[in-house]
Symmetry: C2
């Protein structure tokens, strides 16, 4: 029996759904600009210090954070040539990780470092590029202070009916989530912790957040990455999300798992498209779905003047 519910509580979607497509396009351009604001002419990038380990850049440290690191002379060298480096005596993965973690633990008392209030006890890898060996781990909540690149997995859960019409499963985030409470999101998503595989993370998040059995989640297809760097009062966020498409059986219904999600909705893809232009969507998830719309030919380059800007805006890196 089909129990999937069509969305009913997003009354303002019709505003966007029915608006001139040019207004929708402008909102999407603004979204991409906001999520890439670290590249803009007015960004703090030009005053940030490069965070370097062994001569390789692994992040960006805002000036106010660099000042707070100055007392820890046994961990960080004084800023030099625009870079803050770890002391050379920290010459291996474990030593670096523990020394920096001690500093970050000490900084939890700093009221200005809002991000540390969201301490997660999750270790993220710190490395110059995804393909490089990790040089240390860092507590997830601290990565934005050092502008360390974070990786994650996002899953587009969707259905195709007999007429070829696509609908997409969206999650509404729990109002108790630390970040973006109550906003619309991909069906499942999660950050990539140190030493954990991409597909493994996908299957775990599908199970935990949406009670999707492993044999169904395993059918998800890798299709893209979405990359961006934004900055806000909590720091610098260079991120790349590994994107998977998962076509679900028409009678499948995800259900709330670990409490990170309060509800799931199955929506016609045109409704989802309209919602992307509202403030009701977690911004990086809106980008992942924009990528879906492009790959599935739901946006046409002859009628969408920003088509090429959309695609390049989804894949920015420094």
């Amino acid at each position: 029996m089909r129990t999937a519910q069509l969305i009913v509580d997003v009354t303002h979607v019709d505003i966007w759904f029915n608006m001139a497509s040019s207004a929708w396009s402008e909102r999407i351009v603004q979204l991409l600009r906001r999520m890439n604001n670290f590249y803009s002419a007015g960004s703090s990038r030009f005053s940030c210090f490069r965070f370097e380990i062994d001569g390789s850049q692994v992040g960006w440290i805002p000036p106010h954070v660099a000042s707070l690191l100055t007392p820890y002379t046994d961990v960080f060298l004084p800023p030099q040539k625009g870079a803050v480096s770890l002391c050379p005596s920290l010459d291996c993965y474990e030593k670096r990780s523990e020394a920096v973690n001690d500093v970050v633990e000490a900084l939890r008392h700093e009221s200005s470092l809002i991000c540390l209030r969201g301490w997660r006890d999750e270790r993220y890898s710190v490395k110059p590029r995804f393909c490089d060996a990790p040089l240390m781990w860092m507590e997830r909540a601290a990565t934005s202070l050092f502008g360390v690149k974070r990786y994650g997995v996002h899953i587009n859960g969707y259905t195709v009916n007999g007429s070829g019409e696509i609908s997409m499963w969206l999650a509404r985030r729990s109002i108790t989530k630390q970040t973006y409470p109550g906003l619309l999101d991909n069906m499942a998503a999660g950050g990539l912790a140190a030493d954990v595989g991409i597909k493994h993370t996908l299957i775990k998040e599908c199970a935990e957040e949406a009670c999707i059995p492993a044999d169904i989640a395993a059918k998800a297809c890798p299709v893209s990455t979405v990359s961006y760097t934004y900055e806000d009062e909590e720091g610098v966020f260079p991120e790349s999300q590994f994107v998977f498409d998962l076509e679900l059986p028409l009678d499948f219904v995800p259900s709330v798992g670990d409490g990170e999600v309060q509800d799931f909705y199955l929506l016609p893809i045109e409704k989802v498209k309209g919602l992307l232009a509202t403030d009701d969507f977690k911004p990086n998830s809106a980008m992942v779905i924009l990528d879906f719309l492009i790959r599935h030919s739901l946006i046409e380059p002859d009628t969408e003047p920003y088509y090429q800007e959309f695609v390049t805006g989804l894949h920015q890196t420094l």
Copy 2:
């Protein structure tokens, strides 16, 4: 009757097909780096002049070209603050186009300007972004002298058999082509001339190059863009290709049309993947097919260490 031939004359593909995948990955990284060499630290970008019209940048002019423009004081203002601008008296599309074209015609005698030997009598639009109104047109062969962005259309023609196995149609370019003679290419592709639509260009190129009937070509699905900027001795090439996938009937065989192609091959996709790492492929077409491999889940992020670098390398813009 199935008359499609499997490739037989590309003997060295098995070398790459059988090589360690890490060697393939490194070759692809090199391809992407070469096609984006204008962004590299050692590029001429830092000595190029911005080409501006009415205060908006529309290209990059290498210093040796800027010197050649100096005598034409009724068309170009002297370089100022790193920019070469058109004279304000050229205050409309037609005036600008004709004045610059007169200069470019005069420069055809300069033996150093290799690219002008390939005069095409094709008008390309000059505009800050794709979504902007064109500010002038320019002869296609001259665009690299001014680093004016060029747009095109590439079509991935492919088949899926009953077992779900994908094969792709490749073209071998005629040895008389001005650019990349004799190399492997997408089944059909072409540049976007001024005032011509994207889908219209696609259908035209499919008909002209591969004798694909319009009703079949019209089924091509827009799926992506591929963007890059390279420089060589002929100038600066900022380009974006609109990418379409066209699934063809199993019994369909393209045939040589206007003589731009000497032959077509239908190849299992794994063979195509191997060929991308050889020098036998037109480089931007290899990028378009790399994008296909990623979108069709033929590359896995858990086993391809450069997965994210591949995706971002396909979508660079300034």
